[in-house]
Symmetry: C2
């Protein structure tokens, strides 16, 4: 399915479809952030989303789009992070059996959270096993549908509902700033935002250490990097998606890069001054604005805060 | 001025008066909190308030009620905490000179925050000096008006605007739960809530270690305790106010007590699961609900989260 087929209509339909599962998250403002950054920022707080991240939007739109007969055979996904939680929540909601393929050394809290949602967990050895193969095998044996984390039209349309809600609440934005992992969130959000406000300027943000999309933009084709060692663990994908990349190239003006220190400083500011907990990945888009990396002249900035899941130990270390 | 003179009309007027200064804070819900507590909780998030706590409501209503001629002579207040910040913000807004009397060992961040608002700081030795006397002397010398932290009708009416907003947004609450320091927040909120929903049941919450109002309820008169060693540093007042106490006795069904461990556990849950940072005092009212201390049968519970100010070191220790 070529990407041109993902239109605002699909996002509108996704919004209707996921309404019983996903939350309409609040848009927050902060006088102290604005004073530091020199803009008026509007934070779409997906850290308050069900499951603690935007992922439930794409996962639930995908799972609710699976034909009934297939759905009865279940779903399977591989993830050690927010996508796993989201798939477990959405599958539980529709009563479909879910299998999550997770590395055997995944954080216990995430495994327990997933299991508490009634999902079955299949573990593998991160150094020997191949999670794609394991998922494919489970799918072949059981007929379960694989739920992709970003590179699918249903997923992308679901993620786009975040920007739809933001623009409905704050229509007159000059710019939209979104982090990039596989690019599903930014791809969907860029389609929604450009439709609702054609003049909006759209920026993606990556950690300097995870600059696969930045490099891909420079080269004009998808670049693959080594698994990046950034603290933004939700953005460790190694290349933009086949579907997401052309959408980003069309809609995104520039990919901005933030340092690990900028991510940490922004996370700390959001926590201590704005009183919201975001995970390192969730601080990446705010960090670009906080560090004044946007071109001058942009005043009203929408920022998607992608998630807030963190282990207590991880927070203590920060 | 007898307390009976504080009526909903004063709270309504306060809401109009403080609109240019105080924020209308969001009301948040959390499926995971509800699952643990067995209720539907509605959090009035004053940790997102300007200055990081509800205090700006009372301070700005007070300062905006001072006659013009007096206001030109300035304001003075003693506080090492949220009241100081609030007075500094409100005074800066109206362009009145502000003097804050703070202990010389007050947290640097709070002193700097206050100074950044243009306020003058007078320090004193916590063990030798008497802050009430210092304030009174400054007031006598300069004509500055003392801004009381809780025991004044203007302050109480200002704090009541928090419950007014909450009940306007969620009218059908069964109960309202609010922490007690000097009692200004609960006094004002109880007047607003009883007016907007006469059937509502109202609960105050104190740390076990700071149970002056609990003891006062039991005895039927104001009891004074030693400065309590609770981590909820905003609730270390030693007795209920002269004005606030009769209001509480009339409107509050019961004073609930929470342990230091319950405060810590609730703070942690609010941070890691709900992704909001609250200060220990701000976790006191939620802790009573989280620990299921309310009488059975109450389903829809309004909870005022009083504030979110904390030093980084303090958070790290928790």
């Amino acid at each position: 399915m070529p990407d041109t087929e993902i239109a605002f209509e699909h996002i509108r339909a996704a919004a209707e479809r996921i309404r019983p599962i996903a939350k309409r998250t609040p848009v927050m403002t902060s006088a102290s952030f604005d004073a530091e950054a020199g803009v008026s920022a509007f934070f779409k707080c997906e850290n308050f989303q069900k499951g603690g991240a935007f992922k439930i939007r794409g996962a639930s739109n995908f799972i609710l789009s699976i034909p009934k007969n297939d759905l009865a055979k279940g779903v399977v996904a591989h993830s050690s992070g927010n996508h796993a939680q989201a798939v477990a929540i959405a599958a539980q909601f529709v009563g479909a059996p879910a299998t999550l393929v997770m590395p055997e050394d995944a954080p216990r809290s995430k495994m327990e959270g997933t299991r508490a949602r009634g999902a079955r967990i299949v573990t593998y050895d991160r150094f020997k096993g191949n999670r794609e193969e394991i998922s494919a095998q489970i799918s072949a044996e059981t007929g379960a549908t694989i739920v992709p984390p970003y590179d699918h039209p249903w997923t992308i349309a679901g993620q786009g509902t975040a920007a739809k809600e933001l623009l409905e609440e704050v229509p007159d934005l000059d710019a939209l700033v979104v982090c990039i992992g596989g690019g599903g969130l930014l791809a969907g959000c860029s389609i929604a935002a450009k439709h609702l406000r054609p003049s909006i300027r759209i920026f993606g943000v990556e950690p300097e250490l995870a600059n696969d999309t930045y490099q891909s933009f420079a080269k004009g084709q998808r670049v693959k990097i080594e698994t990046p060692p950034t603290i933004a663990d939700g953005l460790r994908s190694t290349s933009p998606g086949e579907l997401t990349f052309p959408i980003l190239r069309r809609n995104v003006e520039q990919v901005l890069l933030v340092s690990e220190d900028q991510i940490r400083a922004t996370l700390k500011f959001l926590l201590m001054r704005m009183k919201i907990l975001v995970e390192p990945s969730g601080a990446v888009a705010p960090a670009a604005v906080f560090s004044q990396l946007l071109p001058p002249g942009l005043k009203r900035i929408g920022i998607v805060v992608s998630g807030g899941n963190m282990d207590y130990d991880q927070l203590a270390k920060l």
